[in-house]
């Protein structure tokens, strides 16, 4: 238990009639990077702000390294935070911005300078000490904000969609850098994002949130391959929903009998949830069951969108070399390459 850095239990928060957060629990061991992923309005930012002390909770508790901090003011929590909006103090230059937290902690001048130099070096901005926020690009501003949050060696680093305002290229670079820094400093980190690629690529574990509750929290692999709820299944990655008849715990999809898992019913009409990479598109067939709508070239792989006779859209992910002869309009046969399938009733 002593290895757990942040333990949050039963957090609830209501705004008017809206339950922003319902009985939210999360435990983060020391040094782990956990992402909270969910659609906008799912309560992930509210959770982060309550943990930071910037928002009050109606119920629940926040423990940091075994110490209850639920009612502590934000400035006494020793957490670092990076925000979605640019938050550098406009009247201070980069070095002064970074040393702000150190000054509040009454660190000596020489020590401040040393730590500011070290952290700016780490985020790759060692020649920018005297610049002001308006002289920096968006990516540089967020790097400074990251340095400013990390220089005080916080117990927990809180990231509130820090990459959302940036260009795609900068976003990818900076997220790798955040992960590299986090691993080298060993800072326990909670990262809020609505971008699943961001969450999946850099996190140890991802918590998927919906309507104020945590639906599932696990490693990216488990979330993708073994989603606990329908919401997680459809929110994480692309998921095909194919209607079929369930009987005796089995379901037939494109002529193949598959074992249904996690279904509540054993018979009736259900939907099979199948990932695009588990669907193959065959051109040489005497038994076509779908029509190609589009093929998007993605490099090594291609995304093929097909339509079933009943109008259902099905996506398939294939190697580009294996799908070169697929053209819009051609009749094809779809196959599944799995033997077990998730089913859902709605």
């Amino acid at each position: 238990m002593s290895q757990d850095s942040l333990v949050v239990k039963g957090l609830s928060r209501q705004f008017g009639t809206v339950h922003a957060l319902k009985e939210f629990d999360i435990t983060i061991p020391k040094g782990e990077l956990v992402a909270l992923l969910g659609p906008s309005g799912c309560g992930k930012t509210t959770a982060l702000r309550i943990i930071a002390g910037l928002e009050k909770s109606d119920a629940g508790s926040v423990m940091l390294n075994g110490k209850e901090i639920t009612s502590d003011a934000a400035h006494k929590r020793n957490m670092g935070m990076v925000f979605q909006a640019y938050s550098l103090f406009p009247h201070l230059n980069v070095a002064e911005n970074v040393s702000f937290g150190l000054k509040m902690r009454k660190v000596s001048k020489e020590n401040q300078k040393k730590r500011v130099d070290t952290i700016l070096e780490l985020v790759g901005l060692n020649s920018h000490h005297k610049r002001f926020a308006h002289q920096l690009s968006g990516g540089q501003q967020q790097r400074v904000a990251l340095a400013r949050a990390l220089v005080t060696e916080p117990e927990v680093l809180l990231l509130d969609e820090p990459l959302s305002a940036l260009d795609a290229q900068v976003r990818t670079n900076l997220r790798e850098e955040i992960r590299r820094l986090q691993l080298s400093l060993g800072t326990t980190t909670l990262f809020v994002t609505h971008d699943q690629e961001e969450a999946m690529t850099i996190s140890d574990r991802v918590g998927v949130m919906n309507c104020g509750s945590l639906e599932q929290i696990d490693t990216p692999d488990v979330l993708y391959n073994n989603p606990a709820t329908n919401f997680v299944a459809s929110f994480v990655g692309v998921m095909n929903k194919i209607s079929s008849q369930l009987s005796d715990g089995h379901i037939e999809v494109f002529g193949k009998r598959l074992k249904a898992v996690k279904g509540e019913k054993t018979s009736g009409t259900v939907y099979a949830l199948i990932r695009p990479e588990a669907i193959n598109v065959k051109t040489n067939t005497t038994n076509p069951n779908a029509r190609v709508l589009t093929r998007s070239f993605l490099g090594a792989s291609s995304n093929i969108v097909c339509q079933l006779p009943d109008g259902t859209i099905v996506q398939s992910l294939m190697t580009s070399s294996g799908s070169g002869d697929l053209h819009p309009g051609s009749s094809v046969e779809l196959e599944v390459s799995i033997s077990e399938v998730l089913v859902t009733h709605d």
Binding site: F89, P90, H91, F100, G101, M104, L158
Partner: protein, 267 residues
Amino acid sequence: MDSESHRKMADTMRKNLASNLVLIVAGMFLFFPLYAAAEFSLRNGADKTHGFAAYRWIFEQSGFAENIGITFRVTLLAVLLNLLIMVPTVTWLHLSGQRYKRVVEILTILPLIIPVVALATGAQLAMPEFMQNSVYELSFFYVVVAMPYTYRALDIGLSAHPLATLTNAARSLGASWLKTFTTVVAPTIRPSILAALFLMVALSLGEFTLAQLLHWSTFPVWVTNVSQQNIVGATALAIGSLFFAWILLFAFSFIGKKNSTIVTEEE
């Protein structure tokens, strides 16, 4: 190509000429009355010589230093009240009092709608007696009368920055509310605070009606009384106070700039 660039150059020149012409006309409109008044104030009686007799006359009038002193102290208190009341209040309205903002906005307009006479007689009665008996009650009234302007100056400055994010950042970095206000909010909106204080100073230095109605002798009241006796002296007073106010405001803006460099060096 060549004639094209020629035409463009001629165009810009014509535009420059037009804007310069406007400047010159507007400048003359401002400058001539000032020049005429200055010239008049320098005349030595009926003869054609010029000198500073009228200016010397001002200093010889009784109550000069005393009234300037009163106006200065009243202005100083008004500025302090503005810093202590208006700045934190408008900041709070921006951060967590959003729903009261509309009401306050309307309230700040009231001093423009309510006649000063009503303020003088009505509001004075609401003051505790020891305040009614002190000239410094004027400072409180001046803060209220200047509110339509000072509120807006501060409001604009606060709206120009993502204040909520900045204060959240400061708080998460270990700054208490007070520290956040003094080390982040105030320096960020420094130009607006200075603008609000300019307005406050300008209003306090020149306010006549309230002081006169409440029977306080301030510099503007004194000027009005004294200038009844000597027309050249009155003009000299007008020119003198104008230049004095300019110098003061200029110095003020200079202090503001100097301070900001000191702050950056220190922090």
